[in-house]
Symmetry: C2
Subunit: 232 residues, 2 copies
């Protein structure tokens, strides 16, 4: 078993939380998902958790750090799933039992996202929505952690997509990945921009339905011909 930090070893992870800390963590998760980060006050969290306000500053450091902890608890197992998918794809491709194309790479993200969506014990669709919304909104609370701990995950997807689309330059691959993931995050976030205008016919909540529509869109976009002309 290769144990490079680039691949998906199961860490011990799950730092032990005291009972108080866990109560805070769980109340916070529920409220962040329901109300969003800004709209959830520490006083509401601690009240629902049945603990003192100051406990959140003792066990976690700040509201942002609490959010980081809520996030990490759900995100890390998921990210490890993604890495395992990528490892498995590489293995299958080496063995000649799988094509290494854009669809295979995209599915290395979609499959774990879909599995998580359907597993309430790991946060389910609600967490996927929270996760995507947070990425889309670029929250300061996560910037440091994500780039320190999970930058290599993006590197893996970038390499994989570059291998799947060898006719593209590195810059083009970066753009396709950027755009493709933007749509997928957005779709999974359940944000319906057009609904802001009161005119959307899209019901964007069922994960299977999202995948059904978003995957063909993303695959076609990633495989687009450079500077496609007006008449195809």
């Amino acid at each position: 078993m290769k144990s490079s930090f680039l691949s998906a070893d199961a860490g011990p992870a799950e730092p032990k939380y005291s009972e108080t800390a866990l109560r805070i963590l769980e109340a916070a998760e529920r409220l962040f998902v329901e109300l969003g980060l800004e709209a959830t006050s520490l006083r509401l969290i601690t009240q629902q958790a049945g603990v003192n306000l100051a406990a959140v500053n003792y066990h976690f450091r700040s509201k942002d750090a609490l959010f980081e902890a809520v996030f990490a608890r759900r995100f890390e197992p998921w990210a490890r799933d993604c890495l395992r998918e990528l490892d498995a794809l590489e293995a299958r491709a080496s063995a000649g039992t799988a094509r290494f194309d854009a669809e295979a790479v995209v599915m290395c993200y979609v499959r774990p996202a879909l599995a998580l969506s359907k597993d309430p014990s790991r946060g389910g669709a609600l967490f996927v929505r929270l996760f995507s919304r947070v990425l889309v909104e670029n929250h300061r609370a996560l910037r440091e952690t994500l780039s320190r701990e999970w930058g290599h995950l993006v590197s893996r997807y970038t390499e994989a997509l570059g291998r799947a689309l060898p006719e593209l330059t590195a810059e083009e691959v970066a753009w396709r990945l950027h755009l493709g993931f933007s749509v997928m995050f957005h779709a999974f976030a359940g944000n319906d921009i057009l609904k802001l205008f009161g005119r959307s016919a899209v019901s964007a909540r069922d994960p299977d339905l999202i995948v059904k529509h978003v995957v063909p869109f993303v695959l076609a976009g990633m495989a687009a011909t450079r500077g496609e002309g007006p008449s195809g």
Copy 2:
């Protein structure tokens, strides 16, 4: 000249603002763009505008309403440009001088966005970024206004895309529009999700560069084959 409320007549618009109100409006716009909505306090705005704190509640009603005013001043002329583009496309198509395809429809959004990006007197690229960020983040401040005043704009794009892609069902058209606009908003917002992970090679600031990469992606996505299989 048909003058249905559905098409693009030039309204008088521009309600007269007192000098104090204008000073607030302009300081607010600059700061909202620089710092974001949440991070900009009314005390900072009024201080930079050289007016009293309470003036913002007198001239506008609340912080959200102030944002609405800042937004409307830039958005309305732009939205009218979009409507004019759609009207012009329909006219050219009727006259047989233009193809009514997905690219033509998408360009009805991209052209005004690009023009606005390059016109600092109307807010320029900074406002396009603010606008896109606000849509992406689904701000409560705009929900009511957008659906009341500009819902028909989305209806126009929906109809147009349906006409350009007649082989798709209405549900599919809604999804393609939703996904396509999501990517474009996101790209124009300059949000780089992958940069959160510290690993993005995309420099997402130059509007022309954004268009160059995003348009082929969106067009390919919109024209995607239903449930595209693994081997194309």
